[in-house]
Assembly symmetry: D2
Homo-oligomer: 99 residues x 4
């Protein structure tokens, strides 16, 4: 994942966007892109949305990921490590039901 982060940061810096990228606006951006993703499912079920809009769905997923990685880089957060920690927490919250 380091390659992809380096590429995104280079892209941002070549365009002089770094000064705008504060944490609050990056968090706003993640919500905006998440809703552009969700728009593909408005008035439709999953099958219809995937059949009609797969290309846009993929692009909006990429946009959510790009902003999430930029927020992680800005805050010096290791996203994969945070996922592992969160899943340990979730495992306690939602124990596996034994039968």
């Amino acid at each position: 994942m380091n390659d992809i982060i380096q590429k995104i940061i280079k892209f941002r810096d070549e365009r002089g966007w770094a000064p705008y990228h504060n944490e609050k606006d990056l968090a706003i951006s993640i919500s905006l892109e998440a809703n552009e993703l969700l728009e593909n499912f408005q008035w439709r079920n999953s099958e219809e949305a995937v059949a009609e809009s797969i290309q846009n769905i993929k692009e909006e997923m990429a946009d959510v990921f790009i902003y999430l990685l930029q927020l992680a880089e800005k805050m010096n957060v290791d996203l994969e490590e945070e996922v592992f920690k969160k899943m340990e927490k979730n495992a306690l919250k939602y124990p596996i039901k034994k039968e």
Copy 2:
């Protein structure tokens, strides 16, 4: 990133959640988690939010990522590849300004 996806899928399947995980509800979940992340910045600037809520910010970022990876797995999408494609498209849309 494959390790993390395998771990998330195993977690989901051990709890019998797979039948609920259709694409539309996963897209809804990404928006919900993005807004739980954003809530940390409500009525505050970036510095205040990071100072007061860094732990929750990290956990909500992890939650956005977990649902994004689950949607990617469900749709058989390679997120990193989609980011590279989207950035090529963005590079055409936002060319670097030469001085």
Copy 3:
């Protein structure tokens, strides 16, 4: 507010949209429009956003309201009554600080 609801419902029915207007998709629509409203504030402070985008801000506020009224009508909810009830609840949750 009844006039406005009647007008919105007439608009919907003249276009044959009623069958699509289930509660879940109306709730999705409110989030989508809320984020189109929020997009006007991305990378900007309030003053800049209002100065540059007042017209679009007003239109997106109208869109949020239109979908909210449609969900209320669909569920037979009196929005004004619910606001009064919620504020009574909030008044207990956030008591006025006496000095």
Copy 4:
């Protein structure tokens, strides 16, 4: 609708919240509440959500409306007038299909 706005503003001012209520954070708040509303529909269809969570759905609708009215008051926007204008615009964009 004027009564309800006056009541909301009085509530805000009695708690000294006015200084926090800039337009950008109010727009963020509308998105946050819209997603708390939407959360009631996660992993469920409309019927299940309404059957199981009608009370919370009504309260979150009230919260979206409260923040929308506060933004309107802050910006000196007449929400009902904006809805009428937006519907005239929509009527041109989506003409009624004659058979």
